[in-house]
């Protein structure tokens, strides 16, 4: 009887969907797996110990983290307003949030230069503060911030939307001010979404190529000249060809995946708790 149940025929639609879906999953996983498993550990180690490579990785991780922190400070309030308030022009702001995803990144870089370039408004203002954006870490950071902020904004907004407004209302009647309510109720309950948005934002920022290429190809990172890893990878490929680019590529993908998987596991554990 039990056996009969186990071989119960699967629905034809499910079968077709599994085949199509599996092809899609394979298309995504295939190249990654191929690349990771076709490189020997020795070449990976050699590549990682190369100064250009590890400085580039450090600089990329640092800039993406910096951008994410700025995103948290300015983006979380915007996400909260979007989730809770109705205001004139809300629809426009909603559209605005997705624009960095939609416009070509090289074009985004150029647009940023027209504002943050040393000859332009924001650029001049920051120059007084001693910050210049062209070919500098600051440039890398704003390029990353611009292209990756939608991930944090959308995740944080969803997070706040999933918090029942009544919880906030109850907190208010219990005597909590709006600040107390935000920091003790709304933020802790939306935190998982926000953290997951931060990871995506960080990872997306670290993987940015086009906007950084335009704004800050080479930068001075604590005394070392470096370019972000995505540019490093493309440079190797363009200058020396596929085989030579492989170890760096594998390292970069490996690190991205490791961070991503570790944080997914961390988030899941917290959820289970």
């Amino acid at each position: 009887m039990g056996l009969k149940k186990k071989v119960k025929k699967t629905d034809v639609m499910t079968l077709v969907f599994v085949i199509l879906g599996f092809s899609m999953a394979l298309f995504i996983a295939g190249p990654i797996i191929k690349l990771l498993f076709s490189s020997s550990l020795g070449t990976l180690q050699t590549a990682l110990l190369e100064k250009t490579v590890y400085i580039s990785i450090l600089m990329t991780a640092y800039s993406a983290a910096f951008a994410t922190v700025i995103g948290l400070i300015f983006g979380v309030p915007l996400a909260y307003l979007m989730a809770r308030k109705n205001f004139f022009g809300k629809r426009i702001v909603e559209g605005l949030i997705d624009i960095p995803v939609v416009i070509p990144h090289s074009a985004a870089g150029i647009a940023l230069l027209f504002v943050f370039g040393s000859r332009f408004l924001a650029g001049r203002f920051f120059k007084i503060l001693g910050v210049s954006f062209f070919n500098s870490i600051a440039g890398v950071i704003i390029a990353m911030l611009f292209v990756s902020i939608p991930f944090l904004l959308n995740a944080a907004r969803e997070g706040f939307e999933s918090v029942d407004v009544r919880l906030e209302k109850v907190a208010r009647t219990l005597g909590a001010s709006s600040w107390q309510t935000f920091f003790r109720i709304s933020l802790p309950l939306a935190w998982r979404s926000i953290l997951s948005g931060c990871i995506m934002m960080w990872a997306r920022g670290a993987s940015e190529f086009g906007a950084v290429l335009v704004l800050a190809y080479h930068v001075n990172f604590f005394g070392n000249y470096a370019c972000v890893t995505p540019i490093l990878v493309a440079d190797r490929f363009n200058s020396f060809g596929l085989e030579y680019a492989r170890p760096v590529t594998a390292i970069v993908i490996f690190i991205s995946l490791a961070v991503f998987i570790l944080l997914r596991i961390f988030l899941r554990r917290r959820k289970a708790k």
Binding site: D164, R166, K169, V170, A171, L174, G175, A176, R184
Partner: protein, 348 residues
């Protein structure tokens, strides 16, 4: 005392308007109405959680209309409990005390006291998602009461519970109200709930107050057909005054003539509660009573009692306990007499 005068609140499609209520300190006040009448919004407006367009809310002479919610000292309990999911029951209850910077020792005392009142001593360490509906509701009550609010607002607190839990929660509400002497405003769409719990009831329809009074009065003297319907009066007839006879009048409802006590003339509405009608196998004559002969159309068993529909010109619905029904040995299509006092008929 809570005085609400000329309150107007925007509800999108329509407005809660001309809301005037006086609620006494310590009263158990019920706001009754169908879904979408604006009952919950009224509660949130009182708590300062929903913006008020016009009017005033005054508690013990203090105008709180413009006050932010955390300064009003009003507790609220929602139908879906709204416990903070990231805190244990004890932390939920402590929240209101902590934000008031109550000292830790005092917090413990207050929690122990309110936990004993609401019978949740052994639930304090549990997280909300491990609790049943009734348990959650008790913790939500404890959380709202621990800060000694001037008013306790209850938004359909019993609707999400199953009948036997609802029963117990009803007793708890009565008990808490009695012991803590807190003013309660309780919103519901269930007339029975209003009848059991309420000192006074106000009936709201589409944002407007239709009638306010004791549950018993509203049940026996509905002002409109809507209220009669909502109080499950079941016998509501249109009629015409035919003959006056001292205090009595004979009223023609198509198919039957009913004696009532009234001064009204011409077109009237009559309402008669099913429990006011006595079923009998025999005729029964008295000037103070109506006695009509009819046929049993339907017997609808409700567990402990039944509704019997008797056609006597009009269809009359009577209520009898099942024990009484067994003794009458009444079946469908039997002949029966229905008897009710002239004074039991409400004319409006």
């Amino acid at each position: 005392m809570i005085e609400i005068s000329g309150l107007k609140v925007d509800l999108g499609n329509f407005a809660l308007r001309d809301i005037d209520l006086q609620i006494e300190r310590g009263e158990y006040f019920i706001v009754l109405g169908p879904t979408g009448a604006g009952k919950s919004v009224l509660l949130e407006a009182i708590a300062g959680l929903y913006p008020v367009l016009e009017g005033k809310i005054i508690i013990d002479g203090r105008d709180i209309t413009e006050l932010s919610p955390e300064k009003r000292n009003i507790g609220i309990v929602y139908q879906d409990y709204s416990l903070f999911p990231h805190m244990s029951a004890a932390e939920n209850i402590a929240f209101g005390l902590k934000v008031r910077k109550t000292p830790g020792k005092k917090i413990k005392e207050k929690i122990d006291y309110i936990a004993a009142m609401t019978h949740i001593e052994d639930l304090l360490e549990r997280k909300p998602d491990t609790l049943s509906g009734g348990e959650k509701q008790k913790i939500a009550l404890a959380r709202a009461l621990v800060t000694d609010p001037d008013i306790l607002l209850l938004d359909e607190p019993l609707s999400a519970l199953d009948p036997s839990t609802r029963e117990k929660m009803r007793y708890l509400l009565e008990e808490l109200h009695r012991e803590l002497k807190v003013t309660v405003i309780h919103v519901t769409h269930d007339f029975e709930e209003a009848a059991v719990l309420g000192d006074r009831v106000t009936v709201i329809k589409s944002g407007v107050i239709v009638q306010t009074g004791s549950p018993d009065y509203i049940m026996r003297h509905p002002k409109t057909e809507f209220v009669a319907d909502f109080a499950l009066t079941r016998n509501v007839f249109k009629g015409k005054v035919k003959k006056k006879d001292g205090d009595y009048a004979e009223i023609d409802v198509s198919g039957a003539t009913i004696r009532v006590l009234t001064d009204k003339k011409e077109d009237v509405m009559l309402s008669l509660r099913p429990e006011e009608i006595i079923l009998s196998r025999n005729k029964f004559i008295s000037t103070a009573r109506n006695c009509l002969k009819g046929i049993v159309l339907e017997i609808s068993n409700r567990g402990s009692y039944s509704y019997i529909t008797v056609s006597a010109g009009q269809d009359f619905v009577c209520m009898v306990t099942n024990t009484a029904l067994d003794e009458l040995e009444l079946k469908k299509n039997d002949e029966a007499w229905i008897v009710f006092k002239a004074s039991a008929v409400h004319v409006f």
